[in-house]
């Protein structure tokens, strides 16, 4: 399949049509950047594999292909699908290689950028692997089925170790226990000896105690002898008793004297008494007479008093009589009947007078005109007349008016009738009153006459009738009766007085023998009687008192004698009869009594204790065969006791130890601790053996599958791999061969094999040039494995710019030979016209067909450049850097997703972004050219310059800044060695497989810091990692440059180092100080 002609009506960024015819074999498409070389390549790729590109309305192209004997046209007009036509008729697309091989037909400068393989290359590798496995990815299947190393080896290993350690610990304890068990006999003997010593010690302590008690008893005995004998008999209450006795004796003596004096006084009083005999028999009759005498006197006095009262009353009645007092003697003439008549007549007269007064003629009323009723009738009649007249006359109410008039007249007639009846009644009453008054006046005159007669009869003036007169007369009558009674009483009194005098005389006569004076009155008699009675009673009292005093005197004497006897007895008991101051002695004895008692008691106790001790000592003599412990002197005894105590003190400890051992033995015999530990170890062992079994199975499985795969590969090595290998060997001048890295769990990858050492190098480990050659070799190799598919053109878009002349030549020759058969068409796009000459020269030298030169600038007729953005339109998403227009440096950095700078990493990996933040357009151009890092710039510098990506001045300025970076990085690395790679640990003999994971974990923990790693290892963070291995690892790290003990430089020192290194650039004006400072600060910010 060969491209005959390509024609563009428009390409993204190139709106003007152009076209060219292609030749067979090698075609060199040349022209400056932006002329449309890459746009052509992408358009062609899109026409062949439209699903790998992005349709664009800016795209309108068609291409004619020679496919077999036919010419087919592929066209695209900005919409729809790519159409295939033959002579204007639609035909199916030719049998193109699958999309997985599309990448083999197009390699552009961007393929050089990634360090890892492009996904297209990975896919190629996978296809190869599958082919190697006969349709099965044996490597991946191997790792899936037999990839594990067995589960949790370390955990089970730890379990086994722990169980083993536990067993060792228990067994050690058991052995110790066994030793202790064997020592039990000796311990038992020791305990017996200690027990005997303890018994002896007890006895020796008794002996020692006996000695001490005997000494104490002797001391007590001596003190007891110094105490007086009487103390033995003194009683605690003796001093108080003696004092009390003596006080009592004195009191009794004083009392006896007082009693004697009292008794003498009583005797004297008795002697002075007149009455010697009892006067009561005489005095009692006198007392009765005196009582009689007093009664008589009373009666007499009462009678005289009554008479005087009647006389006074009589006199008072006389003064009240009308006409003055009644003369004496008239009272005898007053008749009681006359008085009652006078009283009667006086009453009658007064009554008649009152009746006459009631009939007063002035009280009769003649002029009363009538009653109220007649006046009412009259008034109503008049009213009715007036109303009737008014109604009739005024209002014309005839019937009403007539009715009123009739009513009024009727009422007036009634009123007049009532008034005439009243006048007739009053006339009759007057006549009756006059008759009554006349009768009353006659009666009053008769009563007056009878009154006057009665007054005259009594000799009283009858001037007028007094209503009180009857009362006065009644009182006078009663007074006259009272005086008569008084007169009779007076007579009786006189008889009583006589009798009283007689009786008084008789009384005086009877009192005289008793020595009493004569009495004149009853009061005197009574006083005398009282005096005589009291005198007798006093004599009786004196007699009783005399007897009482005599008795008390006798008692006092008896008590006094008793006390004196008691004192004598007490002193006699204490042997103090003859002591001059017995009381003092008694007190002294009493004060010494407790001490004596204490001494006596102590002595008794001591003697008891000593007796007991003697008994015990006697019983224990067998413990001391051949010796008498009681014969030891105190010092020897103490020493012996100490010795025995030392022996005896061990008893408790020994017993405890024996008990502990026996208990431990019992527990051990009943225990299952060791059994459980053994079982646990057995389980862990079984688990480990299971793991071993798994590992063995895995290894066997890997062996079987690897062997099958290897055998198959030997027999059927894929053509593509063979060809790719040959290409790479050719491109690299037999420096490298190609291999397929099959890790199973990761994506397969092509690796370059150093043919001299056999070392496999991944694409990331290759230089950029070799990497390009590897990728090119792989893709060219696969071109040979297309089978029956059509063979589309191969397009290489400036991929050899970074190759040295030798490699360039090798690749060129390879491509030339690829085309030599005539069935492969190659387009190589290059911006440098001189490169076309080189191609031609090589082809000619190799005897190959000269390439066809397609000068796109000439075809398009001008040297205009559409700019790098023409590359963007058909790029795969994300592969073209964005434009910086309108963005700040930081925004642009975020858009680019610029990674942080790893100061400990490769300095060539520094993104150019960090040194071109003030020239983002320049950075953008470089990025478009695939130059993103310092290292990339340095490796592709010449190509980029040749391509006109940067001019010389800008390149020089960029390199001046790169120099700042290099200087900075070199200075910063002082004291900051690079990170220790995991591979170093994996290859180190100091780190065995057993510790590799843990040491690797520690390395990750310290972020690859070699010094920190060693410190951690020395600090025991990886248990049981031996010191010798740490030392060895340190040597390895030092020799590999991963340890640096120098002091890291600070900013000023770093700046100084940079300025020193970049002095020439500063002086030449390529750098200014501000830029240097800014760059250094920016680098430091990445720490």
């Amino acid at each position: 399949m060969r491209l005959l002609e390509f024609r563009s009506d428009r390409l993204p960024g190139i709106p003007t049509p152009f076209g060219f015819a292609a030749g067979p074999g090698l075609n060199l498409v040349v022209g400056p950047n932006g002329i449309g070389k890459s746009s052509f390549a992408r358009a062609l790729h899109f026409l062949l594999w439209p699903r790998r590109g992005q349709p664009s309305t800016d795209l309108a192209v068609h291409a004619d292909f020679q496919v077999g004997t036919h010419v087919l046209r592929a066209g695209y007009r900005g919409v729809g699908d790519v159409s295939w036509t033959r002579e204007g008729r639609a035909v199916p697309a030719p049998d193109l290689p699958p999309e997985s091989l599309a990448a083999c037909h197009h390699l552009d400068v961007l393929d050089l950028m990634p360090i890892l393989l492009h996904e297209d290359d990975v896919r190629l590798a996978e296809d190869l692997m599958k082919e190697l496995g006969g349709g099965v990815n044996l490597v991946r299947l191997r790792d899936q089925l037999f990839g594990g190393r067995g589960t949790a080896t370390r955990g089970k290993q730890d379990e086994f170790r722990q169980a083993d350690a536990r067993i060792a610990r228990i067994v050690a304890a058991h052995r110790g226990l066994l030793d202790e068990e064997s020592a039990l006999g000796e311990l038992t003997a020791d305990r017996e000896a200690a027990l005997r010593a303890r018994t002896r010690l007890t006895l020796l302590e008794q002996v020692q105690k006996r000695l001490e008690r005997a000494a104490e008893a002797e001391l007590a005995r001596r003190e007891l002898q110094t105490i007086p004998a009487g103390v033995e008999f003194v009683r605690p209450g003796d001093p108080e008793d003696l004092d009390r006795f003596r006080t009592d004796v004195a009191a009794r003596l004083q009392e006896r004297e007082g009693l004697r004096q009292e008794l003498a006084q009583v005797e004297a009083d008795l002697a002075a008494c007149r009455l010697t005999e009892d006067p009561l028999p005489v005095l009692e009759p006198i007392r009765n007479d005196a009582r009689t005498l007093r009664e008589l006197g009373g009666k007499f006095d009462q009678a005289a008093s009554q008479r005087n009262q009647t006389l006074a009353r009589l006199e008072e009645a006389g003064r009240d009589l009308p006409g003055g007092a009644i003369p004496p003697g008239r009272w005898e003439a007053i008749d009681a009947e006359a008085i009652r008549a006078l009283v009667q007549h006086t009453g009658d007269l007064i009554q008649h007078r009152r009746s006459l007064a009631a009939l007063d003629p002035t009280a009769v009323d003649d002029g009363n005109p009538g009653t109220g009723a007649d006046r009412i009738f009259m008034a109503c009649g008049m009213g009715a007349l007036v109303l009737g007249a008014a109604a009739l006359l005024g209002f014309g109410l005839r019937e009403a008016g007539l009715a009123g008039i009739v009513l009024g007249l009727s009422l007036l007639g009634g009123g007049l009738a009532l008034r005439a009846q009243g006048r007739a009644s009053r006339r009759r009453n007057r006549e009756l009153f006059d008759a009554a008054r006349h009768a009353a006046e006659i009666a009053e005159q008769e009563a007056r006459r009878r009154y006057t007669t009665a007054c005259e009869r009594l000799g009283l003036a009858a001037e007028d009738a007094d209503p009180a007169l009857p009362l006065v007369l009644q009182a006078a009558l009663e007074a006259r009766r009272a005086r008569a009674d008084a007169d009779r009483s007076l007579a009786e009194c006189e008889g009583l007085e006589s009798r009283r005098v007689d009786l008084l005389a008789e009384i005086n006569a009877r009192l005289a023998p008793l020595g009493a004076a004569a009495c004149q009155t009853v009061a005197e008699v009574e006083s005398t009687l009282t005096a005589l009675t009291r005198e007798w009673e006093r004599r009786q009292a004196l007699v009783e008192k005399r007897g009482e005093w005599s008795a008390r005197l006798a008692d006092c004497a008896a008590g006094l004698a008793r006390r004196e006897q008691e004192i004598d007895a007490l002193l006699s008991r204490l042997r103090l009869q003859d002591d001059p101051d017995p009381a003092r002695e008694v007190h002294r004895f009493a004060s010494q009594l407790p001490r004596r008692k204490q001494l006596a008691s102590t002595l008794l106790n001591l003697e008891t204790v000593i007796a007991d001790l003697d008994g015990e000592i006697e019983r224990g003599r067998d413990l001391f065969p051949g010796e008498d412990p009681t014969a030891l002197d105190p010092a020897a005894l103490s020493a012996r006791i100490e010795r025995e105590r030392e022996l005896a003190d061990g008893f408790a400890g020994i017993s405890e130890r024996i008990g502990s051992i026996r208990k431990s033995l019992e527990l051990a015999r009943r225990g299952h601790e060791l059994q459980e530990a053994l079982a646990a170890r057995e389980r862990a062992k079984d688990d480990l053996l299971d793991i071993l079994d798994v590992q063995l199975l895995n290894q066997c499985g890997r062996l079987m599958l690897d062997r099958a795969r290897g055998d198959h590969r030997q027999k059927t090595r894929p053509v593509a791999l063979e060809q790719a290998d040959r290409y790479l060997r050719s491109f690299t001048g037999l420096a490298y061969g190609l291999a397929l890295l099959e890790t199973g769990n990761e994506d397969p990858a092509f690796t370059a094999v150093r043919l001299d050492t056999g070392t496999h190098l991944s694409p990331a480990q290759l230089s950029a040039g070799t990497r390009v050659q590897l990728i090119l070799a792989v893709r060219l190799g696969f071109l040979g494995s297309l089978g029956s598919h059509a063979r589309p053109p191969l397009v290489l878009d400036d991929t050899l710019g970074s190759s040295d002349p030798v490699r360039f030549r090798a690749i060129a020759v390879a491509l030339g030979r690829l085309c030599a058969g005539g069935d492969r068409q190659v387009f190589y796009l290059c911006p440098r016209p001189g490169e076309a000459e080189a191609w031609s020269g090589i082809m000619q030298a190799e005897g190959l067909d000269a390439p066809r030169l397609i000068d796109l600038a000439a075809i398009r007729g001008r040297a205009e450049s559409a700019g790098p953005h023409i590359l963007r339109a058909m790029d795969a998403p994300g592969r073209t850097p964005p434009e910086p227009r309108g963005l700040t440096a930081s925004e642009y950095g975020e858009r680019l997703r610029v990674p942080r700078v790893d100061l400990r990493g490769d300095p060539g990996a520094l993104p150019l972004f960090y040194i071109l933040t003030d020239h983002l357009d320049r950075l953008h151009v470089l990025l478009l050219a695939g130059c993103a890092t310092v290292g990339r710039w340095e490796s592709a510098r010449e190509g980029l310059l040749a391509a006109g990506i940067l001019d010389d001045d800008r390149a020089t300025a960029l390199e001046a800044r790169i120099k700042v970076w290099r200087r900075f990085h070199g200075a910063w690395a002082v004291g900051r060695p690079p990170r220790v790679p995991l591979a170093l640990l994996e290859e180190s003999s100091a780190v065995s497989d057993r510790f590799l994971d843990r040491v690797a974990d520690l390395l990750a923990k310290v972020d690859g810091d070699g010094a920190a790693l060693l410190a951690g290892l020395r600090g025991g963070e990886v248990p049981r990692f031996q010191k010798a291995n740490v030392d060895q690892l340190q040597d390895e790290l030092e020799s590999a440059g991963y340890l640096d003990s120098r002091r890291p430089l600070e900013r000023d020192a770093l700046l100084g180092a940079v300025l020193e290194g970049a002095g020439e650039e500063i002086r030449s004006g390529l750098l200014d100080m501000e830029t240097v400072h800014r760059l250094v600060d920016r680098f430091l910010a990445q720490e």
Partner: protein, 446 residues
């Protein structure tokens, strides 16, 4: 007066008191399943007058050497004390585990306990119950933990005519260079005793009637590999000198290895396994006696269109407790392995030259060298090269610290290669199963 009744002696194999079974079911105390429990049961059974036991003979390794000082010694001393107190005589030979313990016990128990063959000699003790035939027990004890010479280098007492003589020995019947008193059955039979009862190997042999020496087996299994019925052997010597042997199943634990056909649906695997366990238990334990637990190691067998799914189903069982109950016996699966294969013709596969065919050839030369010889050129060399490579890898594995510390029993090279042959074939089968069930390694890495 000639005897009219028989003499009954209980022979007890390796007890290993002081050990516990390492694999016990969840929920059961391992102590109730271990040697101590078995020993206590044996003592109770022997002391039961209904059983009419006259003597008990211990065939060595009564205690475990790793735990012989106390934990094993206590139950042993008590048990023997109980036996003696019940009027039984106790004879024992020391095995390689109890060269210290039994002599020590013999010193403590002066009467009723007879240690036969102390210090590597032969000695005898005659059990002669009244009115019953005398039985002469002859034994030899390990003088040290290891003894790589035949006990018969020292001549045992000659048999006595008219007296039944029974040999009691702890030895390795494999002979050869064993470090455990190597001896051969023929040598022992040549001594002329009526029977030999041996300790050392834990898997019990079926008792022989012709006097061929046999292993009594461990009194109670310690390891899942010790399958079958365990317990002491009751030996009855009749008045006429006849000898009958009967195993008394007094072990509280029993192990069985079962091959269980896989179910069509892998999700039924658990039910299938449990069903097989219960079914097996039904056939084993009509009268469980003192049996408390029956442990299984299951191998899932058969063919399947998707052996990988079967394998995954078995792996899933690892997180489950496969337990069941059959009467008083707890059933538990200690391990389930998957040996299910895909249905394919290995020989047919081996005719192909693609990698699968090459793999099939490797499996064939390992599994069936004869068939492979006709199909695979240089099949022996292929097998040998595989075994050589596998042996190197095996050496690398066992050199790992994790396995060195385990203290692997040294094996002869042929043994190792035999094991490797099996492993290689197993691995090859697994790979073939995966490929033939459609796996191409395209899926995500494991």
């Amino acid at each position: 007066m000639p005897p009219t009744a028989s003499t009954r002696i209980l022979f007890v194999g390796d007890l290993h008191l002081g050990r516990l079974p390492a694999h016990a079911p969840v929920g059961l105390d391992a102590r109730t399943l271990g040697p101590e429990a078995a020993w206590n049961g044996i003592v109770r059974w022997a002391c039961d007058s209904d059983h009419g036991i006259h003597a008990v003979a211990l065939a060595g390794d009564v205690v475990d050497g790793d735990n012989a000082l106390f934990e094993a010694y206590g139950p042993l001393e008590k048990g023997i004390g109980d036996l003696i107190a019940a009027g039984l005589e106790v004879c024992a030979v020391a095995g390689n585990h109890d060269t210290q313990t039994l002599p020590r016990l013999a010193r403590v128990l002066a009467r009723g306990f007879h240690l036969l063959g102390p210090k590597g000699t032969w000695s005898e003790h005659v059990v002669s119950p009244e009115g019953r035939p005398s039985v002469r027990l002859v034994g030899w004890s390990f003088p040290r933990d290891h003894w790589d010479r035949s006990p018969l280098e020292t001549r045992p007492p000659a048999p006595l005519p008219g007296v039944t003589t029974l040999g009691l020995l702890h030895a390795d019947l494999a002979g050869g260079t064993s470090r455990y008193a190597p001896v051969t059955p023929g040598d022992l039979r040549a001594v002329g005793y009526q029977a030999w009862f041996l300790g050392h190997v834990h898997r019990p042999d079926p008792p022989t009637a012709d006097g061929t020496p046999f292993y009594l087996g461990s009194a109670s299994p310690l390891d899942p590999s010790e399958t079958g019925v365990h317990g002491p052997m009751l030996v009855e010597v009749g008045p006429d000198g006849s000898i009958s042997r009967e195993r008394i199943p007094l072990a509280p634990l029993r192990w069985a290895h079962l091959d269980v056909s896989c179910s069509r649906d892998p999700s039924d695997t658990a039910a299938t396994v449990l069903g097989a366990m219960v079914e097996h238990a039904r056939g084993q334990t009509a009268d469980p006696g003192p049996l408390r637990a029956l442990g299984f190691r299951i191998r899932l067998t058969g063919t399947s269109h998707d052996p990988h799914a079967q394998s995954l189903a078995v792996e899933k069982l690892e997180s489950q407790e496969l337990v069941a109950v059959h009467g008083p016996v707890s059933l538990f699966a200690d391990r389930v392995e998957c040996a299910v294969t895909a249905a394919y013709d290995l020989a047919a596969l081996a005719r192909s030259d693609d990698p699968v065919g090459l793999l099939a050839r490797q499996v064939l030369v390992l599994e069936d060298p004869r068939a492979a010889a006709a199909l695979v050129p240089d099949s022996d060399r292929l097998a040998a090269s595989l075994l050589d490579e596998a042996e190197e890898r095996w050496k690398a594995i066992v050199r790992q610290g994790a396995f060195r510390q385990v203290g692997l029993e040294p094996e002869g090279r042929e043994e190792v290669r035999a094991t490797l042959r099996l492993k290689l074939a197993e691995a090859g089968r697994r790979a073939l199963d995966a490929i033939m069930s459609g796996r191409r390694g395209d899926d995500a890495p494991a």
